[in-house]
């Protein structure tokens, strides 16, 4: 049975700019928003858009991600025909290859795609926080009679040179592509989400593979080649919330933005577009007599006895009486002991912050440092972690880490 469109989700990125957070897990597996992981967003978008077949291309530290995806049931992607499949690089009779680039990752899985005989393939990236209806994108692609479409966001002209830019005419037809140009001719940034007609994609993947000088990348090779050949390429305008959470500060910011759905644009309280995730299975959270909770997101299994302000607490976080947490993203299972002061930071999973320890501080004088603590770290009593610190080893009692 042929599928109209299947999704290929690029999830192999190391996310090296997230440092301590991605030491042991791939970027798409990084926890986000209280009970999600980043990959929940593209996966939920697929299901909500009616796409029931998703190949996830993994390469870097895939264990957590593999276990998290499992059989895909939390996203309703455990299907008889289709469903979710994790696709790591594999050994072939003629040797084995790591995925050399984004295009090569798809190239190596041509047989997977062929087995579903799709008309269209959507290429997604596993490191974006975004609620997007891919079926609307496909409708656009079909209406334009496109062979390739790319989702674009309008960005400010000052920022434009940080992005891959699409120059398009009044019919949204792409006439030029600029990768991080000094002199931007457009402010339409590529979101890295593409729809291809499968026959076209396959042809260009095979040609690209045969080119020894290619870096086998969509942005650097495939898209320029399509342009060169004058293919029907269109830019699909997306105007909703979109955030690339590739850096510590953007990840922190995106988390904070869910506290204010009225202004920031990302609303997780949307029954028509639910974001699905694997469930922690813990009891409702508890807030004790001594606790003060102001402007927070709190989820199952948390126990709050301290003062928590403008923060995102993931499942099973404990904040002891007398502890202070502000502007912080605290991931699952972390324990903050009494008297500890935790501010303007990201604390990964299963961290212990000892009594009277200080982690991060509120920004002043334009300083914007977000202190970051990697998973499983122990911060000793009275220890101090500075506002720009990136901690991936235990900090002993009373010691400082800047």
């Amino acid at each position: 049975m042929a599928k109209e469109m299947i999704a290929m989700l690029l999830a192999g990125g190391q996310g090296s700019r997230l440092y301590a957070l991605t030491e042991k897990l791939a970027k798409p597996a990084v926890p986000f928003g209280g009970k999600y992981r980043i990959i929940d967003f593209p996966l939920s978008n697929c299901v909500n858009s009616g796409i029931d077949t998703v190949g996830i291309l993994t390469q870097y530290q895939p264990m957590v991600l593999n276990e998290y995806i499992g059989n895909g049931q939390p996203w309703d992607l455990d299907r008889l025909h289709g469903g979710v499949h994790v696709l790591p690089p594999y050994q072939k009779a003629s040797g084995s290859d790591w995925y050399k680039g984004t295009a090569n990752a798809i190239y190596q899985n041509i047989p997977f795609i062929e087995s579903y005989d799709p008309e269209y393939v959507i290429i997604l990236s596993g490191d974006q926080i975004c609620k997007q209806d891919y079926s609307d994108f496909l409708r656009f692609h079909k209406e334009k009679g496109a062979e390739f479409s790319v989702a674009v966001m309008e960005v400010s002209w000052e920022e434009a040179s940080r992005f891959g830019l699409m120059v398009a005419d009044e019919n949204d037809k792409i006439t030029e592509f600029q990768e991080k140009p000094k002199q931007p001719k457009s402010n339409l940034a590529s979101m890295g989400i593409y729809i291809f007609n499968w026959d076209i994609l396959k042809k260009y993947l095979i040609e690209d593979e045969a080119d020894p000088n290619s870096s086998n990348d969509f942005g650097n090779n495939i898209i320029p080649n399509l342009l060169k050949d004058g293919r029907n390429m269109y830019a699909y305008h997306f105007s909703g919330y979109w955030k690339d959470v590739g850096t510590i500060s953007s990840l922190w910011e995106a988390n904070m933005e869910i506290l204010d759905p009225e202004h920031s644009g990302i609303n997780l309280f949307d029954n028509d577009w639910k974001i699905y995730s694997r469930n922690s299975g813990k009891t409702g959270h508890k807030i004790t007599e001594t606790a003060v909770v102001e402007n927070c997101m709190i989820t199952d299994g948390c126990r709050i006895a301290g003062h928590v302000k403008r923060s995102i607490l993931f499942s099973g976080v404990k904040v002891a009486e007398g502890a202070e947490v502000e502007d912080a993203v605290i991931m699952g299972g972390t324990v903050i002991e009494s008297g500890a002061v935790v501010k303007h930071c990201i604390v990964a999973e299963n961290v212990v912050i000892g009594q009277n320890a200080v982690v991060g501080e509120m920004p002043h004088d334009g300083e914007k440092g977000v202190a970051t603590i990697g998973s499983g770290i122990h911060i000793g009593e009275r220890a101090k972690v500075g506002p720009n610190a990136m901690v991936n080893a235990n900090v002993k009692d009373g010691e400082e880490e800047w």
């Binding site: 928003g33 209280g34 009970k35 049931q73 939390p74 506290l259 997780l268 309280f269 639910k274 974001i275 699905y276 995730s277 469930n279 299975g281 009891t283 409702g284 959270h285 508890k286 807030i287 004790t288 007599e289 606790a291 909770v293 102001e294 402007n295 927070c296 997101m297 709190i298 989820t299 199952d300 126990r303 995102i312 607490l313």
Partner: protein, 380 residues
């Protein structure tokens, strides 16, 4: 074959003691009463069975079971969507000559054929009016080691008030045991004794074949109730042994105990005793985390996911998807799924069922001993 599973199948009676909480079972049954912020009563006994390696569970429903079917689905959340065994919901046949069962003998007589074809050597049976983390494996081991014909679980405690006050109702049956060592020497029905008794939990373990034989025999004699009509008269003939349960239990005997048992979980030591150890599974709703908006106040509460709190909440249990608007005050309340408390409303000692709305500015007060109950879908 490698097998860590228990050689037992489970049978759950989800309608037992429905009459004790008529308000709560108006559109459901005991098993699907919401409890402890995100669970239903059946989750506890069902998860306990699964955690002890029981992978074949039948739920013999009698009436009002739509909510339970919806909750359990294929049983996947309890790991019971299986090819072998798994979850089996047994509805009554709607035939004129067969009456809807009233006791376990009749209920089991309806499923004798099913019981005959099962492979497990033992059967464990339970109701759903007690929330606990029950170790069926330990009970089963004791049963096997002691050579008993039947093993019955009990707790040492005074007879609960809600039980005692129900004796005048027709069809209300409650059991206590007189023990000689570990052996149950006599079974009392609706005992009036004061002080600590051996109070039955209505949880039994026995061999499947013995159960089939006894049910056949009892059904022919017109017996209805397993304990009253089959076990109680045979304490001499059968080797019936007691298994004392010493863990945390929340018994729902009436509306007051429902209220109190929920509230008791606000104490960490109680919550930990009920939940630490084996996990309790429930249906997943995929709610987002709960949001506390600026200006909200929360003290001594247990809150599930999906809530939006703008007002004040205190000493309360909030189930999934509850909304408390600006200026609203909620104190000593149990608010079930998707209850909405509108701006400025003040409620105290209220139990609201699912989808209740308390409109803007309304005030509603119950008391400690008599909480106000608002039925499902009502707008106050």
């Amino acid at each position: 074959m490698v097998n860590a599973n228990a050689d037992a199948l489970g049978i759950i009676f989800p309608n037992s003691y429905d009459d004790q909480v008529p308000d709560l079972v108006n559109e459901r049954l005991m098993a699907s009463i919401p409890f402890a912020s995100r669970y239903r009563m059946v989750d506890f006994i069902l998860s306990s069975m699964v955690n002890c390696g029981i992978g074949n569970v039948s739920i013999i429903v009698r009436k009002n079971y739509h909510s339970l079917m919806d909750h359990l689905g294929s049983g996947r959340e309890w790991d019971l969507a299986r090819k072998k065994g798994g979850l089996n919901i047994v509805p009554p046949y709607s035939e004129k000559k067969i009456q809807v069962y009233s006791g376990r003998v009749e209920a089991l007589a309806n499923v004798l054929d099913f019981l005959k074809w099962q492979k497990e050597k033992y059967v464990v049976m339970a109701d759903t009016n007690i929330a606990c983390n029950f170790d069926f494996k330990e009970m089963l081991n004791q049963h096997i080691e002691s050579g008993a014909d039947v093993t019955a679980a009990y707790t040492k405690q005074p007879i609960p008030e809600g039980v005692r006050s129900s004796y005048e109702k027709t069809n209300y049956l409650h059991y206590t045991f007189s023990m000689a060592g570990q052996k149950i020497s006599k079974i009392f029905v609706n005992s009036e004794e004061n002080g600590v008794q051996n109070v039955s939990m209505n949880i039994y373990v026995m061999e499947r074949q013995l159960l089939i034989d006894e049910i056949k025999k009892g059904f022919v004699l017109g017996n209805k109730f397993f304990e009253r009509d089959v076990l109680a008269p045979q304490t001499e003939k059968l080797n019936i042994q007691g298994y004392e349960f010493t863990g945390y239990q929340a018994r729902i005997d009436d509306m007051k105990s429902y209220f109190d048992e929920n509230m008791k979980l606000l104490k960490d030591e109680n919550l930990d005793s009920l939940f630490l150890g084996n996990p309790i599974y429930t249906k997943v709703r995929d709610d987002n985390p709960t949001r506390y908006i600026n200006g909200s106040k929360a003290k001594n509460v247990m809150v599930a996911d999906g809530c939006v709190i703008e007002g004040e909440i205190e000493n309360s249990i909030l189930f999934r998807g509850v909304k408390v608007a600006k200026g609203a005050k909620v104190k000593n309340c149990i608010l079930m799924q998707d209850t909405v408390i509108e701006a400025g409303a003040e409620i105290e000692y209220v139990v609201s069922d699912k989808y209740v709305t308390v409109s803007e500015g309304k005030q509603l007060k119950g008391t400690d001993s008599f909480p106000v109950f608002i039925a499902k879908d009502q707008v106050v």
